[in-house]
Amino acid sequence: MTRTQHTARVLIAVFATTMLVATACAPGGPAASSAPTATAAASPTPQQGGRVIQGDISDIATMQPVLVNDTSSGRITTLLYDTILLQDPKTGEPTPRMATYSISSDGLTYTFELKPNTNWSDGKPIVAQDWLTGLLAVGKSAKTVRKSNFQDIQGFNDFKDAKATTITGVTLDTANPKKWTVKMAKVSCPAIIQLIGYVLPTQVFGKYVTATSKPEDIDNAPENTNPTVFSGPFTFKEWRKGDQVILGKNTTYWQGAPNVDEYVVKVLANQTAITNGLKTGELTFGTIPAKDLADMQTVDSVTITKYQNLGYTFIGWNTASPSAVGLADKRVRQALAYGIDMDAVIKAVVFGEATKQVAHHVPVQWAYPSVALEPYKYDKAKAQQLLKDAGWTPGSDGMLVNAAGKKFNLTISTNSGNQERETLAQVAADQYKQLGINAVSKPEAFQGLVTKLTTGDQTLEATIIGWSLGGDPDPYQIWHSSQIPNPATKVEGFGFTFFKDPAMDKAIEQGRNPTDGNCSTAARKANYETFNKILNENQPYNFGYSNNVLQVSQKSLQNFAPAPFQTVYNVEQWWIKK
């Protein structure tokens, strides 16, 4: 067979196949097979040179850490500016990076000391003042969303409100320029993660955070989009907007120069483009959706690494809904947990690439409870009994009605365009119909949904959405009763289930601001077990599932070891096998 004939046959075969695929109905879920293990052990002699190309569906917005409010920008700034502490990639616990730290016995004073060999790319040593410059930048900026992270530092609020020109709680060690202390106004367990803050080169940004600087000075600084001095493993080379960001290796990086010459973030329009780029080898690594896993497993040139996502997708019940009154009853919400076969849903919606959730924290977090929680295994009979106990009995048409003759109608809203959530809403509605609940799914624009949720719009009865959980397991923002929105007083918040429980509030408060000052992992975990047990029993959410992250990398990429809390933490050790 000639080359032309062969090509023609390939073309015809491929075209016919794609036509079939394109015209077929929804794809049947490929059986999830066990993923290959992560990249092979590191070679003792890494090869120098080459380029890492990461696929991302969003362009970066800024390279100023203080202004970052998106994942893509966050990842780039991490590569340009190193941090004083790093969350352990697997456990999330804070570990020393550029600095070591200690906490006073009363839990109010934090002492940090930068390692002696930490330096900027221009040769200057990194000093305590650089961390303070980052904090001053947060205080000055009008456009940062990070101010509240530092509200417990003594004097920070006065500084941000322009009532003071310094932050009284921060003291730089006059004898040791690499050492400083931070005094907190109250004990705050999440503080250690928040105090990681931002280390900015004072020789660059110092002029934007003087006593007379205006907010726009730091917000519009040219170095925010064209940085010049770096502490991270890479330096900035070029930003081709909407297309790629090109970083070069920092030859003076304090942990040793990276093995690869360049790190490029290639911006792609959607997840499908990332999958294609990984298949063709145009990308070195990127994440893929579960629907592409079976296809990707047929590609010989890549390695697939799976780990659990630091977040979950859930159905939130409006327990104060004036239209779906049944949701106020704990037994009904429990019935809604027993009455949905979440394992089957996971297979149908995310091809088995997720773990069922029955409480707020996910298993990869240290706060995940060790005590047994009710697993809410699918049990239709039990669900029907609970509904009957709650006063919902089948009417003449088989659909549930209460004593007042009101039908159990339930609208499950979710953000349109998110295929996974739309499918989940449809499957959930179908399963609840089998219980006699008149459930329907309703996709609507994410932008509008967010406003409805945070303002406590009572037209929402049930909502499918997801949480990305932060570095610290503190659930205050989502579950404390102070976060319940109130449309009458225009108070906004993320407590859109309107569920509250004094014991749960107390557990959250003790896990965040313990009266005994004990911020140990063990002490906090005990509080979070109480918190999760209350949630597990009361089911203000059907906690849904936590997806697997599917990281795909070319086999030539060595030492790539992503984990739930970090992906690029060891990027300087990555190398390309030629």
């Binding site: 409010n69 297309d243 090109i246 911006v267 329009a269 483009a273 949904l449 967010v450």
Partner: protein, 319 residues
């Protein structure tokens, strides 16, 4: 002619003001709030933070006042700062224009290079199998969704055959002036973007050529014993092309505006993709800057079209 152009330019002003009002109102009336969107799920965000951000972006003023502020600034080419990028919205938009123009111009070239000959062939071979194939192609070209065709072409030519790249406008690491590499990247998106135009041109040219071929001057040319090729290409085609040439002005603007889907499928960093993402993120300044940019482009290109018409047919100028 000068009065004609001036009159058209004066007409354009209320059109653009109308577009600016409609865009401004629609963008702000659409569901959702940009600040709530940015801060959704943000740890420890407070009502005070949200109020401060809303003030920083000028969103705490009444909408009519916001519009007046925006209009005054826009007249000085200041479209405000992007909520997401914290940079000048118009400057950001301009960085995307070359990619879209590049795609639109190449697509236009493909449309003409393929569409015109197909139309002429269909007319000359009227009633034959060639005419039938071209007419079917014309229908299919209109009917096939761009996103579907784009994905199929990517699977075939990029993923399976590895002949062409699957996305972007340049291979990572290549110089921005590497023309062969750029050509390889633009081939698939430009073809997909041009498909409707090819179908249009072949249909218009077929009809026009058939019409011209039946006119007296063509019969006269035949009677004079001119070669068939001379009759078709020198006499008939020149006349048949007039509607195509006059329509070109509007088509470039339509291509720029219509490249959204193609840019999304091929990750082409142009105006369409940028605007789409800004609309999703409710980045008002960028959406408004992009809408005004495309509107001005359309108004100017329609003006050029009208001028071309006026040159071809002076009766229009008089009217």
């Amino acid at each position: 002619m000068r009065n004609f152009i001036l009159r058209r330019l004066v007409y354009a002003i209320p059109t653009l003001i109308g577009i600016s009002i409609i865009t401004f109102v629609i963008v702000r009336m659409s569901p959702g709030d940009p600040i709530r969107l940015f801060t959704f799920g943000q740890r420890d965000i407070t009502g005070e933070d949200i109020a401060r951000l809303r003030h920083a972006y000028g969103l705490d003023k009444p909408i009519p006042l916001q519009y007046v502020d925006w209009l005054i600034a826009m007249l000085q080419l200041n479209f405000g700062q992007s909520f997401i990028y914290h940079q000048d919205a118009f400057q950001l938009l301009l960085t995307r224009v070359p990619a879209t123009l590049q795609l639109a111009v190449v697509a236009l070239g493909i449309q003409l290079l393929i569409g015109v000959p197909l139309g002429v062939i269909a007319a000359l071979k009227r009633g034959t199998w060639a005419d039938g194939v071209i007419r079917v192609f014309g229908v299919v070209g209109h009917a096939v969704p761009a996103f579907w065709l784009g994905l199929v072409l990517i699977i075939v030519f990029a993923v399976q055959l590895r002949w062409l790249p699957s996305q972007g406008l340049l291979t990572v690491g290549k110089d921005v002036w590497d023309l062969p590499d750029r050509l390889r990247h633009i081939l698939l998106p430009a073809f997909v973007l041009s498909l409707t135009g090819i179908a249009n041109y072949s249909r218009i040219l077929r009809t026009e050529t058939l019409d011209v071929l039946s006119q007296d001057f063509v019969r006269t040319a035949h009677a004079k014993g001119l070669h068939e090729r001379t009759v078709v290409f020198v006499h008939a085609l020149r006349n048949a092309l007039i509607p195509v040439v006059t329509a070109l002005g509007g088509i470039l603007a339509a291509l720029v505006g219509g490249a959204l889907v193609v840019e999304q499928v091929f990750s082409w960093p142009g105006v369409g993709q940028f605007t789409f993402q800004a609309a999703i993120a409710k980045d008002y300044p960028i959406v408004q800057a992009a809408t005004m940019f495309v509107s001005v482009l359309l108004v100017v290109s329609y003006l050029l079209r009208d001028i071309a018409y006026a040159i071809v047919d002076p009766r229009i100028k008089a009217g």
